[in-house]
Symmetry: C2
Subunit: 590 residues, 2 copies
């Protein structure tokens, strides 16, 4: 056995910010060197950010990413960090490939570079390309078939990229053939509910298959519709967790390991794995490093479910605002629970001085709604103002009536929501705030929302949160405040009162929708689980109720596609939207 | 040689409408039987519509599609159409496959069924799955590796599906090994500019490789963001076009062919092709059909470029409205060229009585704008009404000022556009029209458009049309009317006057944008061609102008993603939107 100190960089890159991301990597390398690490691992595509989507198809971007990687190698050496072995994800390409229909132009690869003393010793490409859920990598990349194995301090370290661990065979099997002492996995793995459990189980299985420990590093932070949760960890061949970093924490995670010394002759540079992959070997240092006192192992405790979800929501919002160049947000405060929870998340993400709440009462707004909105403003300290919408609504009603069309019913209800959306956009354009939409997943799923009205906003923080979870998170946030001796941000009345859109007198959500507890259960089966009507009925739900919810959802689908991206419904919590045809006659309940 | 009469069904299915699509296929089979055809080919996925996107991942939909195919086989027999051999595209699955990460649940296949006398003789699956441009088929399907070869009238007919022809090897090579007498290709191939030329060249090459004629059938009609152009054709092994159907025409295209008689023993049922595919053989009728007098061959003339594009726009709009259950549209008429062209397209697509134009003058609107809008209404006969926006704009300005925020500059300009959008949506909600957005591709690309304002609309007919082409199509449409002795729909003044948004006094597009002729050239290189700044400059454009256009486009990208799907910018004319990260710091011009 020999010792190795490895540093796993849980950093937060921004898509397209090559210079900024390089600085993050240089900062991690400086810190890792100070900490005495021998090897630094940086996440998948850290230099470009992830996911880059169609930027991968732009040859000028591929060239720029490749040049940035070469520059990074130079900069590491120039700053005296050349002794550290750095494994970093970036975008590369093979522009000499002949153009072919169906293969992306320039044959981009999701690459890893292994850098030492200013030289890129080896470049490799992801072998397994995921093309499901939030991933579209067959569109963007061509696969690689080389497993790099680098000897550092006498230990053979194999390198794999993200999905390479999630699929059978490929790099894991090749690492076993190569008799690697450590399999290093660099990742950009988005957060889902309970993904940390799945991740651990996968790693334990793969470590056993590879016959060596696995060190797994993942990025943190929000990027568009995705949130990355970090949760980097090291697992022994027997499945034991040797170390685990925090969730959603920007940190350099340093781990001391005892690993088997390489037995393969140092002269061997290449061999075929049984699955046909090429094992390509490089020696940085053949001798074990001098013995050192290992640090105690860190096993960061997991967040509980509500804290984990709330933290994901705060992370996603904070980074969306920051990475898009905004510093403040504006949202409508109705006095209801949805806008109250969004306001609490925004205050936690950005600081109370960067959050602007607008009460926009109509003739149908109740006194308690206005009081609850003002109470929330006072509890959180956010900026609070009131813009009544009656003058604008009256102007539309009168002008269209004069032109021959009286607005009634749903047209009048939607009008109120759209006047509010236009008012928020006007304040946004004048003062530079980013607008937040406050809709929850349950109401978006069944179409209980107004296009260009309450759906207005560049980002919808609780788009992925069903209504029952909205209440649970509000209660959790208040309890957390109380535990810390702080003011609970959300008025109890907003949590406990009956939900209403207040677009007509005495309106209640239950006029149009089933009880949210049942609605959320059915929606989970239908939207998340892709179960059909018969399967849902078989679970014991009232067939008429199932029919009603599925019909609402089916007819809402085409509308949903017209919403801004931040308001989309996801296949998984915090994933991207389902992709459904806008025009479809298919009805589960036909 | 032996004779065969084949019928190619250029039909217009709707996604998800299993019963309606089955009726279209039954109707084609009745007509083909009346016409004496021996073989009917129906497009790829005709029974489900194409593209079905995430519906493929819903097991209940896969089961329903499979059941609909079985029902169709029964119905063909019950209606006395069993003698006809029908090759039809549908969705099938292999639900017994074990679930696996990265493979779609239930392993859906893009399938072809070969039906005769009420029996499905063979089911096969598409071999090459496209995953570029508008296609995402790795997400949805698992590939097949069987080439069906059916002997009809003594001729061996091999069956391939769409992309199977666009990629090397696979079914084309297997058809050569099988010594097929005809390769039948069923397609759902979306329209692009000049695609008919590319299609012909491809078919000529593949016919030579397969060593037999190819009969190619494609669907017609609009589906969401795509338009299908038909253009079915038959090509001889030497590249000669034997027959060609119309573009965008719903028709049953009947072709009489002389084809080589099969030499392979009729007992052979299966063999391996050199590329590993399985050739699976079935005999429907081993003897040549009785000799008949062949009909003259039809070579439908191609449309000229402007007529082809205009017809695609009319087709896309007509089907989007109809397939979404609307019968009328409403749009704002500014007097400018964009709304005038959209109105002309709408009148051609839906009939003048289903088109509602609304003039919404502000204090900045000129008299000539109102006159030109009224002139357009008179020329086309569409419904015309006027709703002045000043009362609503004044109410917003006063109410927000009273609350402490005066709206000025861009905020005031955007407000006017949003009042117009809200007015159109109010009329839509009250009266049931679908709203059309009138933005063109040039202004959308550079962000010269207001989110929730003029971008409001379920469908944007000229979203894919650059401004210079807007003018050209308007001129073409007027000339076509004159040639037919009809009133030219578009006022000459709308074509010839200088473009202006009229959101402030004396505003001109050229205050903010370069001349459209140059702008469109640069946008084509940057957006469609994915060329970088240096490559564009190398073509001789002024570097400062390139910098300006690319910066406008880059900064507009994140806004564009928030628009309804009908307003998206496409990678190719009539394709789907480019997929770009919402948050990206990448700038060509940095």
């Amino acid at each position: 056995m020999a010792q190795l100190r490895i540093a796993l960089a849980q950093i937060n890159p921004t898509v397209g910010d090559l210079a900024g991301n390089a600085d993050l990597i240089l900062g991690a390398a400086e810190r890792a060197t100070r900490e005495g690490a021998h090897l630094l691992a940086v996440p998948e595509m850290a230099l470009t950010g992830y996911p880059i989507e169609d930027l991968a198809l732009r040859p000028s971007f591929v060239r720029a990413a490749r040049a940035a990687m070469d520059q990074l190698a130079d900069d590491l050496e120039d700053r005296g960090l050349g002794d550290l072995v750095v494994v970093a994800g970036y975008l590369d390409g093979t522009p000499d490939d002949a153009p072919r229909i169906g293969r992306p132009a320039g044959s981009p690869i999701d690459a890893a570079a292994l850098v030492h003393r200013g030289e890129t010793l080896i470049r490799s490409a992801k072998h397994h390309l995921p093309n499901y859920g939030v991933f579209d990598e067959y569109r963007y990349f061509v696969p690689g078939d080389v497993l790099p194995v680098v000897r550092i301090g006498g230990i053979d370290v194999a390198v794999a990229i993200c999905e390479d661990l999630w699929q059978d065979s490929g790099p894991v099997a090749a690492a076993a053939d190569a008799r690697a002492g450590l399999l290093l996995s660099i990742n950009a793995s988005p957060y889902e509910l309970n993904k940390n459990d799945a991740r651990y189980e996968l790693l334990a299985r793969r470590a056993s298959e590879a016959g060596c420990a696995i060190a797994y590093v993942n990025q943190v932070g929000g990027q568009d519709e995705l949130v990355f949760d970090g949760d980097s960890l090291v697992v022994a061949p027997d499945g034991a967790v040797l170390a685990r970093a925090g969730q959603f924490t920007d940190e350099l995670f340093v781990v001391d390991l005892d690993l088997p010394v390489a037995q393969v002759p140092a002269e061997r540079t290449s061999e075929k794995a049984t699955n046909g992959m090429e094992i390509r070997r490089i020696v940085v240092s053949a001798e074990p490093v001098a013995a050192f006192e290992p640090r105690p192992r860190v096993l960061t405790p997991r967040l509980d479910d509500h804290e984990e979800i709330y933290t994901a929501l705060v992370t996603g919002l904070r980074d969306y605002v920051r990475k898009n160049g905004f510093s403040s947000v504006v949202l409508g405060l109705s006095g209801g629970i949805d806008s109250a929870l969004v306001a609490a998340i925004a205050v936690d993400a950005l600081g109370t001085e960067h959050v602007y709440g607008v009460s926009m009462p109509s003739r149908y707004s109740t006194d308690h709604s206005r009081d609850d909105a003002a109470d929330l403003a006072e509890r959180t300290g956010l900026h609070y103002e009131t813009v009544p919408i009656a003058p604008m609504v009256e102007a539309y009603l009168k002008t269209t009536a004069d032109a021959g069309t009286a607005l009634t019913g749903l047209a009048e209800e939607n009008l109120q929501a759209r006047v509010r959306g236009t008012t928020l956009m006007a304040l946004s354009n004048q003062r530079g705030h980013l607008v937040l939409a406050t809709g929850n997943k349950s109401e978006l799923a069944v179409g209980y929302s107004t296009l260009y009205g309450d759906a207005v906003g560049a980002y919808a923080p609780i788009k992925d949160v069903p209504k029952t979870l909205v209440w649970a998170l509000a209660r959790w946030r208040n309890e957390a405040a109380t535990r810390r001796g702080q003011t609970a941000p959300i008025p109890v009345n907003s949590i406990e009162k009956e939900p209403s859109a207040e677009l007509r007198p005495d309106q209640r959500d239950t006029d149009s929708l089933p009880d949210y507890a049942v609605l959320d259960e059915i929606l989970d089966l239908y939207v998340e689980g892709d179960h059909g009507r018969e399967e849902i009925e078989a679970r014991g739900f009232d067939p008429e109720l199932v029919q009603r919810v599925l019909t609402l959802t089916d007819t809402a689908e085409y509308k949903r596609r017209q919403y801004p991206p931040g308001t989309k419904i996801s296949p998984k919590a915090f994933g991207r939207d389902r992709r459904l045809p806008i025009t479809s006659r298919w009805r589960e309940t036909a």
